[in-house]
Amino acid sequence: MNLNLPPVNLGSIGAEIILAIAASIILISGVFFPKAKKEIFGIMGLFGIVFAFIYNFYYWGKPAQIVFSGMLIVDKLGIFISSVFLLAAFITILLSFSYLKIEKINHFEYYVLIILSVIGMILMVKSQDLIMLFLGLETLSLSIYVLAGFLRDDPKSNEASLKYFLLGAFSSAFFLYGIALTYGACGTIKLDLIAEQIAQAGLLHDKFMLMGLSLLLVGFAFKVALVPFHMWVPDVYEGAPIPITAFMSVAPKAAGFVALLRVVVFALSEMQMEWGPIFWVLSVLTMTIGNIIAISQTSIIRMLAYSSIAHAGYILIGLTAANEIGNAGVLYYLLAYTFMNLGAFGVVIVIAEKGKGRTNIEDYSGMAGSYPLLAVTMAIFMFSLAGIPPFAGFFGKFYVFSGAIKAGYIWLAIIGVFNSLISVYFYLRVTVMMYMKDPAQEFGPVNFAPGIIIALILTVFFTLEMGIVPSCYIEIAKESIMLLM
């Protein structure tokens, strides 16, 4: 008997394997050494992430190939963005050490779940097949549902977890239905074959295809929190442990956007006439509503939550443009946003007291007097998020806006810049509090820990470097996008 095994290329999923091994080791050793210091498991996780990162680095130059019977594609785009996830997870774990201790939720499962979610994200962005994409999405989401509820004794955290789970499951259903309809129309769920089918069989105006497309978009819009599918964001972000909020605001968002990029720009590029206007509207709504609601927030976490909605809108501008500059801009923006937003949350963690104390914007008054360096750090992140040069955020915006203008979406870019103007107001308010207001009472001690300090140094460094010498990051982003175009 002849058994035909499809060629298995384990090298192409090396990073995932390394992470899975790291997660298993932590899980097993966590069970066997219940009395061990929990930080050790975190450090093991960090090592796993570093190895995976090195592996990615080594894999960067290899030519793109489709592996596992057309399930996965290994190209620069996937490697680039999975490195972003790894960086995000690395910084998140660094931010978590002292926070977990203070909140008394120091369990080793925390690190396992973060790593598992990263595996999900990597599979999601490397997938060449809608089912694979869905599986990645679910792996990612399930880990994050649990992480969001990790503050077991805090009802808000439980609420966050449940809310996220219910709405997430709801959106997954949309997504699956979208896959089913797409399959019905095209007879395939492989992205490259879908592209061929649409071109050959004239599916541009096929109603099943259009419905499939719109349901897929709904699923994605939930994940990356585009208005009007953003309702879960503020509550979930507020309830979840702060490092997880930080993580959620960058990594799954990046995964969602890159998967969306693969689906619409790669597989459905022929249908740009259909999804272009939808993206236009979604992007305008997302930016505007996110920014306007952010103005009235008093809690810094909710403010950052709405700001992250708004940033999703800016990123979507790049996708709408659907040209080389716009798409490379999306990647650049995602990387820049990872650093600046994680950094901003890092400062929030430093300032926060147990049980989400001291997380109002007003609590920051007079911080510059007591902690000048920390205040400068926060100011850098705020200016960067507001898109003021010479920080990373400015160049990200410049990049996506120029993509949009090049593609002829001038009004979209104009709406985008006016939104940046609105956002300047609430980001500046934080600096106003820190520098221009006197503290209501003595500014108490803050929670400086070595992990957080390293994370802040890293994020500040990259926020500055990506703003001042963005050249090499642009090159990487451009190369990553090359195959898609």
Binding site: F398, S402, K406, A413, V417, Y435, P470, S471
Partner: protein, 520 residues
């Protein structure tokens, strides 16, 4: 195009950065050490910038001391700096006023000295960067970067009551304009040329823009610069920012920051969009005249000294704008020299107001009276600066306003008629203010024991006064530096040369010509 052998511009530009890093490591408690360090760095900056002035070749209308290093290759963005007749004097003004500002705030600033000095140097770098950039992206970066230190100067060290309001208003207003300009820049540099280019000389010479596009782009740039200048309907941030800012902040704001707006017009709007400039010249001249008269009238009714000086800026900058958009050689040279004059005399006025404020902690005109008896030296300085601001012949203000009026008259005599009334109003509000503050009997007992100027304060005002008189008596060396650049600019703007440029570019395109200057 003359490339620099010694990178003077980079040294002048990045010296403040080195100063900032030095200040960061110095201990916070050593206030005098911090101040001395800043002073030495800023003086050093001034002395290093002197060769720029003396080695500047006034016969050459093109950019000089050029440095060109690729920065962001994917976008063809480079670190590209150089100066010409328009920027040389503004660069000098900036480096000249900075040491003066440091000395001026020596006593005033006692709180958070370290941060203040860092902001000051940061601001200097931003301002210089705007004037020397020959790459639009670089220009935009400096243009925006400079908002951060100014915002902090107003918000942290301003007068407590309304400083936050003023700081945010300043930031949002300026940002509003510059974001529209950003769109304009992207369109101009990414979409219009065949190959992306941000280099300003390249855009001057090799890019053809149709009239319709010119108009739209003109407006995009116009709003950014008009807010900064500020021109009449966009001026509302200015009185607040000026009044609330600390003395030194007001000085730099008036003397240099506002010039960034007018400089933007000569650097970008006129040469890049010549036809649109002609199209909009009438509108801008009318707005400028409204600004002149309105600013002056509002000055008359002010009760706060600092607010009065702030509104006088609106009026004076109206003159600058009128001169620039008269689009003839007298008007533009008058506008350019008036920028420097306004920098000197309004800067000095703010310093003087700051000196009284330090003594009395009030700026209300009604609180004063008869100060000339108590402070004779102060009165002398104040008088000279006031007269310079009015435009008395023999002092600098006269040269600028006279040239502007000549230019305006040539463009349309009605401009000169209306703008001329501004000079009269200026005499009214300045002299009336001076009379109420300085002459008469000492009515308020608090004013009886005021100390006259200290040596430090005389040292602050004296160098400014020197230039006020110098420009007033013998402006030729300054005008000569600018003249070739102005003629060159006018050649770009007038109709025949626009046609010629169109032809040349079309021919170049037909021959499959590649853009030249970016390859270096």
């Amino acid at each position: 195009m003359e490339y620099a052998e010694i990178p003077y511009i980079s040294i002048v530009l990045f010296l403040p950065l080195i100063g900032m890093l030095l200040l960061v490591v110095l201990p916070r408690e050593e206030k005098n050490l911090l101040k001395w360090t800043t002073l030495i760095i800023s003086l050093l900056g001034f002395f290093i910038s002197l060769p720029l002035y003396f080695k500047f070749n006034p016969q050459n209308p093109d950019f000089q001391f050029i440095e060109h290093v690729p920065w962001i290759k994917a976008y063809n963005i480079s670190y590209y700096v150089g100066i010409d007749g328009f920027s040389i004097l503004l660069v000098m003004l900036t480096t000249f006023l900075l040491p003066i500002s440091v000395v001026a705030c020596w006593k005033d600033i006692q709180d958070k000295v370290k941060e203040f000095m860092i902001c000051l140097l940061f601001l200097e770098m931003g301002m210089l960067g705007v004037f020397v950039s020959l790459d639009l992206f670089l220009f935009y970066v400096f243009w925006e970067v400079m908002l951060i230190p100014m915002y902090l100067l107003i918000g942290v060290w301003g007068s407590p009551a309304r400083r936050v309001y003023a700081a945010i208003k300043f930031f949002l207003f300026t940002m509003f304009g510059s974001l529209l300009m950003l769109i304009g820049i992207i369109y101009l540099c990414v979409v219009i040329p065949d190959k992306i280019t941000f280099s300003i000389p390249d855009l001057y010479n090799n890019v053809f823009i149709s009239l319709g596009t010119q108009k739209v782009l003109f407006l995009a740039f116009f709003i950014a610069f008009a807010i900064k200048v500020p021109m009449f309907p966009f001026h509302t941030w200015l009185p607040d920012a000026h009044t609330e800012a600390p003395t030194v902040g007001s000085v730099l704001l008036a003397a240099v920051l506002l010039k960034m707006g007018t400089y933007g017009f000569v650097r970008f709007n006129l040469p890049l969009f010549p036809e649109a400039s002609q199209y909009f010249a009438l509108l801008i001249c009318i707005l400028a005249i409204i600004g002149i008269i309105y600013g002056a009238l509002v000055c008359i009714v002010q009760v706060d000294l600092k607010r009065l000086v702030a509104f006088s800026s609106v009026s004076h900058l109206g003159f600058v704008m009128l001169g620039l958009f008269a689009l003839n050689i007298h008007g533009i040279s008058g506008g350019m020299i008036q920028m420097i004059n306004h920098g000197l005399s309004t800067g000095a006025l703010f310093l003087i107001v700051g000196m009284i404020y330090e003594r009395r902690h009030t700026r209300l005109i009604s609180e004063f009276g008869g100060l000339s008896k108590v402070m004779p030296v102060f009165a002398t300085f104040f008088m000279i600066v006031t007269l310079s601001s009015i435009g008395l012949p023999g002092l600098n203000g006269f040269i600028g306003e006279f040239l502007v009026l000549v230019g305006a008259f040539k463009a349309n005599y009605l401009y000169a008629v209306f703008a001329g009334t501004g000079v009269i109003f200026a005499a009214v509000y300045m002299l009336w203010m001076f009379q109420r503050v300085m002459f008469g009997e000492v009515t308020n007992p608090k004013n009886e024991k005021l100390k006259d100027l200290s040596i430090r304060e005389i040292g602050v005002l004296l160098p400014i006064l020197l230039f006020i008189v110098w420009i007033g008596v013998y402006p030729k060396p300054f005008l000569k530096k600018m003249e070739p650049s102005i003629i060159h600019l006018l050649n770009r703007v007038n109709k025949e040369s626009v046609e010629k440029k169109k032809q040349i570019i079309l021919v170049k395109k037909e021959k499959g010509y590649e853009f030249e200057s970016t390859s270096r």
